[in-house]
Point group: C2
Chain length 493, copies 2
Amino acid sequence: MSVNPIVFNNTVLRDGHQSLAATRMRTEQMLPVVELLDGVGFGALETWGGATIDSCLRFLGENPFDRLDALKRLSPKTPHMMLLRGQNIVQYTSFPDDVVSAFVKCSAEHGMDIFRIFDALNDIRNLKTAFRAVKEAGKHAQGVICYTTSPVHTVETFIKLGEELEAIGSDSVCIKDMAGLISPSMSYELVKSLKQRLKVPVVLHTHSTAGMGAASYYAAIEAGVDEVDTSIAPFANGTGQPDTLLMQKMLEQSPRKPSYDVEKLHQLREHFDGVYEELSDFTSPRNERVDSDILIYQVPGGMLSNFRNQLKEQGMADRLEEVMREIPYVREQLGWIPLVTPTSQIVGTQAMLNVKFGRWKMLSQPAMDILLGKYGRTPGRVDAERRKQAERQANQEAIECRPADVLEPRLPALKAELAARQFPDADEVAVLHAMFPQELKKILTRASAPVTPTVTPGKENPAKRSAAVSGTVSRYRLMINGTPYGVSVETLD
Amino acid sequence: MSVNPIVFNNTVLRDGHQSLAATRMRTEQMLPVVELLDGVGFGALETWGGATIDSCLRFLGENPFDRLDALKRLSPKTPHMMLLRGQNIVQYTSFPDDVVSAFVKCSAEHGMDIFRIFDALNDIRNLKTAFRAVKEAGKHAQGVICYTTSPVHTVETFIKLGEELEAIGSDSVCIKDMAGLISPSMSYELVKSLKQRLKVPVVLHTHSTAGMGAASYYAAIEAGVDEVDTSIAPFANGTGQPDTLLMQKMLEQSPRKPSYDVEKLHQLREHFDGVYEELSDFTSPRNERVDSDILIYQVPGGMLSNFRNQLKEQGMADRLEEVMREIPYVREQLGWIPLVTPTSQIVGTQAMLNVKFGRWKMLSQPAMDILLGKYGRTPGRVDAERRKQAERQANQEAIECRPADVLEPRLPALKAELAARQFPDADEVAVLHAMFPQELKKILTRASAPVTPTVTPGKENPAKRSAAVSGTVSRYRLMINGTPYGVSVETLD
């Protein structure tokens, strides 16, 4: 057993609120404790990437690079980490190599230190451009093994992937269990094998969705994992990462016990308690508890709740079980793609279409793209018949090459588009324009408007809000077991 | 590592709803799935004891022995288990030996198989009478190690206690971690040592309150524990035991993987989903999630929320931190008693009094009783000065003997009291009369009333209810604290 203390990476500024509050935490809600976070001594602070860039532009009216600058300024000591979706950058489809490279270069220039790079299909070819750019920028490239369960995902295939990631230059390797599916025994086995076979540090990232997160970290730590990701409650546990204080407490008698300052962790929790309340429109008690659906249906919780709504809209609310049973079949035919954004939606929608119209009578566009190889190489082979159907319907051949190989460079065109609209055409703007053209336009237009009032949502006084509706009093006479009671009911909120 | 599959005991009918729904599950909410529960093959079904007897009498208007009869009739295959508070039976103070013995004898006659017997102070003398009675009835006596943390609670003291429990005839030994404080490493170490030193099976019971439950079970299973307690979601996780389905899923790749029927577990969950909704007046999202308070303040979550209310009532809402800091000091002076009902309240109240009036200016009655030895031998020595103060104020000497040694037999008197009021005076009634005289009286009086309509709460059709609204008078059946009321409401304006 290793005796080096376990290292915690903190995710509260990215995955914590992405998982528990729909990625709605604003920069100004982070700033008061960024110095404090920097002083705890975490292995890394995950501050950017994933859905945060989308959310900054779409919902928060923030420039994501400004956020990164602000956070970096207040936390210069701890390495910053971001989640990068390989060739998809922080979107859902492939981008040309020049856009990917420019994005990485800009991020590095703005202070990003560790790039955690994954591909939903574990197609390593989709990681290579980002890796090269990270290396050129002199930063840390962390290769990712996306964990999922299927007949073609075995300990051996994961280990082999880990070795490949090391071979292409991973400075560390992360097992990313985005659905919270990894069991303690599997964590132990995977980590043990990777530690034997790799020279670089091994990291485990999981979610407590199914209630296994803390146990799986425990087993991984026993097996010698170097780092695990933790968050700060209440942006922790449930659909998020295990809480830092919880994990430290859990390891009190462990030889690998870490020693982060409990007082500081306590202060952080107090701050984030307040932020959590401010974000109450986006939080849900459902996200905080153990999700049994994932144990019964073997699909991520978020997927199931979306799904129930979708089925209702389609007038198929009573066919949930049937659609659920269709999912493994669809997954198999699509080459056992993992159930994670965006592939969970692709599989789910296709399963629904199969049940509603008969198997493969309707083929959704994204399922067709999977079959045509446009997302990359699937973990298992896609069904030959299905591929033929897709080729026929799309009237094009499936590709075997790296998806981005068929994409032309776009950076010059992106810059020209921006310039034509008299927007700034710096690389930072161009890469955002590539991924979020509509949202970026809104931001850029607003920024040039004469007055941009500072918006501080979530700071309304709840007392004020309730004052508007109080004062409605109803009076009743109640007979309870034959006894009369005069009762008045005042609606308070 | 052991290779025998781990055995799950199911707690949904006792600790599950005691922890997550204030013990309010009614017998009729259990009955539809008792046969199903019996068919799963659990090691035991915890169906009785703890707070259920109190709740039956106080809130549900049920005769607890009738409940046991009904449950036993429908689940004859699986052993039934109950939680017994040693000399306190299912109350908070010591009862005479004859009452304890009669209670055990009646419970055995009504079908109880396994008696899990604990004393909050781990004073083994408080277990002996119950043990003897269980043996006389030919049933299984499970000795309990109450787990807590303090300078005088070490692995060695717990192991020694385990050996003593085996020596007095425990058929199995249970580590009972009622506050959810045990860490995976501690679970591993304790179980490993107990398995080496004891011949009888070892059981671990914990709660997921602090988020460590599943991880601690995992570690205990690795260390060779024979049985763990699990429940059925939504009466599981959070402040309750880990969910059965979750634990089975978690152990999928373990050599000790159990193989309970997933379809049956799924059906059970669907039933209890409905019951959980019916009991929504007594459930709280707070109970379902990981409780960080316990990690920060080192006190059980339930204690802290009670406490905040108590402090508010005393106008001391701003002095929480101060009172919290007083707790370890009070615990030390009171001989490091564990923080569990009723000792958590005793310590908490005394800490509050100390902060409000100055240390030991006011001594609460229960704290005085602890100091006078009336609860038994404390884990550490109580402070000598404090003991003298208690003796002076109470004007009596502290006792060193087993508390029940100073209690006269009471069964004949209890029966005489019942007979005088023309109530039945069977042992079953006498033992309940000893513990819950007021509540029993209500039940006995009501039962002799001419008509007791059968109430089926939670099964009313909401549609029908609104149909009953006619004119300005509406009639309802209300469930208030588990008691049904016929209500008519007349709108006046």
